[in-house]
Symmetry: C2
Subunit: 722 residues, 2 copies
């Protein structure tokens, strides 16, 4: 692709609205380009001045005599659409629109943004912003930007590219990473993303050979699937995305709505999507910096079997706490490893992992022994990663330790991470040697464990992406319904499930009148009786559900009572019939749902049923469609999932049938994505192994915006009758 | 108290085992005392040398001619008991025993530790250690210590005293706090705590007028109640304890067992105890440092209604996320406050909390307006705390902001915290001014929210401690049982519950023979029938439970079948009878238990019952005894507690009766603390409001070590028959 190449490396940058007042946006751009020594063309444009920052100032973009690929526009919103058109006409390829007053400012601004975009497209020009700090190419010192990204601390060149949806906070993350010694390549504050969006920028970073890690601060995404497609490309390219998603909570969403014009999707769905695409989520500064440093310096991890070595028993205790929290295993060492440790570590050392080589062991004389021990652990095939807990080690001791570690880590492609609590000035040689070896030093034992877990999860996501790939959508089945919009009744809803091979109870739909003995013939009792009506959302509240009906006589009586009760409570409701369902007594209640997420489209939710589990929100999500393998993983993600294995003398459950049903629901949600507002299967009963699952109740809601599309048939996209 | 005064401020320190080799422990102590300029007496003791570190060296403690209150003993374990006796005989008040080889090294070491302790007690001498780094009085530069605490970075004097149970890692926490600018008073690495323990050291810190915050790194406590008593003294004195508890998890506990000789109590119980005593728990380095700085610099918080101001919308979004996570409310501002904001902030500012004064607002001209806005928010009676999100602000802007904030915060006793992401060198004046005002700058928005939550929780704990105080134990009731040890049967167990006014089902105990119609007279059906035997732990597995028995005839038949089934499956079991219980159908299942924790003694556990809730471990704990108020709080702590309010058309539950029952269980657990190994009430059924609660099944296990105390009666401590 490389299609944003000239945005990052323009032959010249025009600053439209350039000002000699370095407090103003157009002044800030001029100042930073000049003082930081950008080598491309710098063309201030402002009819008010002859010169700005010692350079000739042009009256308009048309009078700029040199090739100029980027125009930084620092003008009030009302002037921007015309200026964009002028730039496009003059062959400028990209505009970076700094100012606000567009979509985020109401209807007038929205129209301006629309017009600006139209003018840009007419000339094949692309836009960054509006309402943004702009972008920086750190290597080229090209600042198409203003505000904090143009002020100290200035970034060092490096291999991290960042897209930040809020300039102020996003740049705070960048600054904290820089303070931890991380260098940058491109930093783009993307603002309203009227044209160029986060996914497109990630694509560009993936294509940039000098970018190795991608950092993203995200408040909201317009098109979640496009973002995931870009994330999957990054995953395949082995360029990790470290992402901070903000605006996740109730109070957070309120602020997000007033800050950007993006609609934030539900955080649970974001998390599920991020995990599937191998995105590394962070939610604090030090975490972001430590993760990025680890990803830049360390090789992929083969797994979560780790070893730690240290001279401080307490650090090992704390590491073990963290290992439990982050799912690491302190693996048993091989006999050959133990032998080397026994030969080289002091007699008072604890050789079992966590290895305690005893405080004060490392010295001039013992450094080679320490190194042999480290190499033995790294060579152990059962160990995937190594943590060194140097704790308060300083001075020459730290230097010996660092040298041994740096040399050993050259020979083995396994991650090595270091915990140290001391300030750099007490152990300058240790910091220097480890820094050169790109072995990250963390001030937190917990973070060492967390980073190990992250490395293993990322490697696992890469592996998974090469193994499985996307699930193909199945062809749409055919169902004919006398319905086209809004809430469907239970019988209709189950018809749709059945069409997608989702098991439902073997119901019998009877007319909406008292059951006759003849109608009850052939039924297997006990049964449940339910009223069927699109107008009755909560059947049981008005006597519309009767369970445990033992025989035909009871059914006849119950049906008469039910109709009477329903007519009294909801006289206006149109009844489609009475539904007789078998009573299923051996199922565990679960809930399966599907929603149409505004960001990610069709999403399937799965959780335990019953009032306890619902209160505890034991739920998991996946973007539709997905296969049976993913469905199995979902089932295992519930906190209560041990229940499916059989607890308290209960039988193990038919998890395979459940996984197939979940995958089928995901096919339904994907196929009907343009029609489906909501699907609830509550309960989906999970019976003992080999007995299957069955949807005992179901509710399908079609989207309001499809009301009236077809009078008789629910037409699928692509005109399949459903 | 002040009874450790001479430990921290000795007239002289003898170093027994002093060495001219500064690599050896006795050399390290000499080196640091000399080089850091300790002003008290320094007396090296070692018959091998005439002088050490330029001072005359004595052959034995007896030959030291000056008063000497502390002896630092750097000798092999085998020599220590005698040396302790010598020191005691010579009037030394405290020994700091650095070396290992005691309790943690097996039986021989345990005996040495015992002898050492005996010798010390014979002379009224107290001990720190053994197996420790020793202690430092930072103000006096008195190092009774070796290892990392005697090496750079050296601590600055300050108001934090620390007790650390692992020298290596504990000192790492201290070093990270020091790197964040925190000064220290006393640091004690307490090692095996053979004599002076963590609680006693906390007591001493509470009594030290110059200590304002206490830091504790804890791997295990011998006497949890003593620790809590010290913590409550600290709470009453307004000296917050910031504690890191390690060795909490499965892998963590394994390492802890090999590292110290303490048995670690269950982490859940630690957490419950810490929370009750107002202890501020931390589990990472930066968190510890940020909390300590906040507690040192900021006044108490009246609550969790907070305001934030900033120029970066993204920071506000992230703060809102964190506010949700930490239970803060972004409170609505008063009209008077809004008026001041409107008058002083720029027109594009967002005045609603979170307040966005727009990036770039603060300047020479606007600094007074910014200050008026800050003061208005601080003056707002609905706002308890204020966060300033400076993000990437640097230079003069930062200075103006800091000055305004520092001045405003003088006038209002409300916590003010700052988020900034920039390195100190880009905003030296801002860091300086805020540092002088003791307003903590945090590099993490999340941490600002977390610290606000911590301040409010701490203030709440202080308030609670002055309001409630400890619950008095009730007098022990009288019960007579033909049993004294091990597992009691259901009927006996319920008799004990009944004696403590815990509601149990109205059971009838029948002989262990088929029920006769006469025996069934007067029963209200339906009933449950259960076999009663101390030898049958799991009744239902062998047909020993029958539910829903509808009438006397069914009962007669069921009893015969049950006896047959039980005799077949457990022919050797001694049966005490058959228990007939009413069927309770309107109760929510909960579990109430009591355990005898090795660290904290009797503890009550409460949680939701049923297989889901048990799988999800929805449980809470409290140390017994406690009152009804605490029990109410416990009930609210369950994640599923909304269920008690009535969900899905279910009635609200009798939470008051439940709270009384929990308090009663806590009285039972406390009164019987010397006898009770375990108590399980499973289920405790919580019926609709005004219908009470009832223990439907119960299991009491008496401690093995009480087997055989009394043949006929279960005697309580203090000789009450129970």
């Amino acid at each position: 692709m490389q299609n944003l190449e000239l945005l990052f490396n323009p032959r010249g940058i025009a600053v439209i609205g350039a000002s000699p007042d370095f407090g103003r946006p157009g002044g800030q751009t001029m100042q930073v380009l000049t003082e930081r020594g950008y080598q491309g063309g710098i063309y201030p444009v402002n009819p008010k001045y002859d010169a700005v920052a010692g350079r000739p100032c042009f009256a308009s973009i048309e009078s700029v005599p040199h090739p100029c690929d980027v125009a930084v526009i620092a003008l009030p919103a009302a002037q921007v659409p015309q200026v964009v058109a002028d730039c496009g006409g003059h062959g400028v390829r990209y505009a970076v629109v700094l100012g606000g007053g567009f979509r985020e400012g109401g209807e007038g601004g929205r129209l301006l943004e629309e017009q600006m975009l139209k003018n840009a497209r007419a000339h094949g020009m692309r836009l960054i912003g509006p309402n943004c700090l702009g972008l920086v190419n750190v290597h080229a010192r090209a600042y198409s930007a203003f505000g904090s990204v143009t002020r100290p601390p200035f970034l060092e060149p490096g291999a991290v590219s960042a897209v930040i949806q809020s300039g102020g906070f996003g740049n705070s993350i960048v600054v904290r990473c820089a303070a931890a010694g991380i260098g940058f390549r491109y930093v783009v504050a993307s603002g309203n993303e009227a044209d160029i969006t986060t996914p497109e920028l990630i694509d560009a970073f993936v294509d940039d050979p000098q970018t190795r890690v991608i950092l993203a601060y995200i408040e909201g995404l317009g098109d979640g699937r496009a973002f995931l497609a870009a994330a999957r490309r990054a995953l395949e390219a082995g360029k990790p995305i470290v992402a901070w998603k903000a605006g996740n909570t109730r109070q957070g969403m309120r602020a997000a709505a007033s800050h950007t014009a993006n609609m934030a999707g539900s955080y649970d769905i974001y998390r599920a999507a991020f995990r599937e695409a191998g995105i590394i989520e962070v939610s604090d500064m030090e975490e972001a910096a430590d993760f990025v440093r680890t990803l830049l310096g360390q090789p992929p991890a083969a797994g979560k079997n780790v070893a730690v070595m240290g001279g401080s028993g307490g650090s090992a205790v704390v590491f073990c706490d963290a290992a439990d929290a982050y799912g690491l295993t302190l693996a048993r060492l091989a006999p050959a490893t133990m032998k080397v440790l026994r030969e080289n570590l002091p007699s008072m050392a604890a050789l079992d992992n966590p290895i305690d080589y005893a405080a004060g062991f490392i010295s001039d004389q013992t450094a080679p022994r320490f190194q042999r021990a480290v190499e033995a652990v790294l060579a152990d095939p059962g160990i995937h990663q190594l943590g060194l807990l140097f704790a308060t080690v300083i001075g020459r001791t730290g230097w010996y330790g660092a040298k041994a570690l740096a040399e050993a880590s050259q020979r083995y492609r396994k991650p090595v991470l270091v915990f140290s609590s001391v300030p750099r000035e007490t152990a300058p040689e240790m910091f220097e040697v480890l820094g050169q070896a790109r072995i990250p030093i963390m001030f937190s034992v917990n973070r060492v464990a967390q980073a190990m877990s992250m490395l293993a999860d990322y490697a696992h996501a890469r592996q998974r992406s090469t193994q499985t790939g996307a699930v193909a959508a199945a062809p749409a089945p055919t169902v004919v319904l006398a319905a086209a919009s809004g809430v469907l009744d239970e019988h209709e809803s189950k018809e749709i499930l059945r069409a997608f091979d989702i098991p439902v109870t073997a119901d019998r739909l009877l007319p909406a009148e008292p059951v006759t003995p003849k109608n009850a013939e052939g039924l297997f009792f006990p049964v449940a009786l339910k009223v069927v009506s699109r107008d009755i959302a909560h059947k049981s509240d008005i006597g519309g559900v009767r369970l445990d009906i033992a025989d035909a006589a009871q059914l006849v009586a119950a049906s008469a009572e039910m109709l009477k009760s329903v007519h009294q409570s909801a006289p206006q409701a149109a009844l489609s019939g009475l539904l007789v369902s078998p009573m299923i007594r051996d199922g565990i209640e679960t809930i399966v749902g599907a929603v149409s997420d505004p960001v990610f489209g069709p999403v399937v939710a799965f959780g335990m049923g019953g009032v306890y589990a619902e209160t505890l929100k034991d739920l998991t999500y996946r973007l539709a469609p997905f296969g049976v393998g993913t469905a199995r993983v979902m089932i295992g993600e519930l906190r209560a999932s041990p229940i499916f294995g059989g607890l308290r003398g209960q039988p193990p459950r038919d998890v395979e049938a459940l996984a197939h049903a979940l995958a089928a629901v995901s096919q339904l949600a994907w196929t009907m994505r343009d029609r489906l507002a909501e699907l609830d299967i509550n309960p989906m009963l999970v019976r003992p192994r080999d007995s299957g699952v069955v949807a005992a109740d179901a509710l399908v809601v079609l989207r309001e915006d499809f009301v009236g599309i077809g009078p008789d048939k629910l037409l699928m996209k692509g005109s399949h009758p459903v």
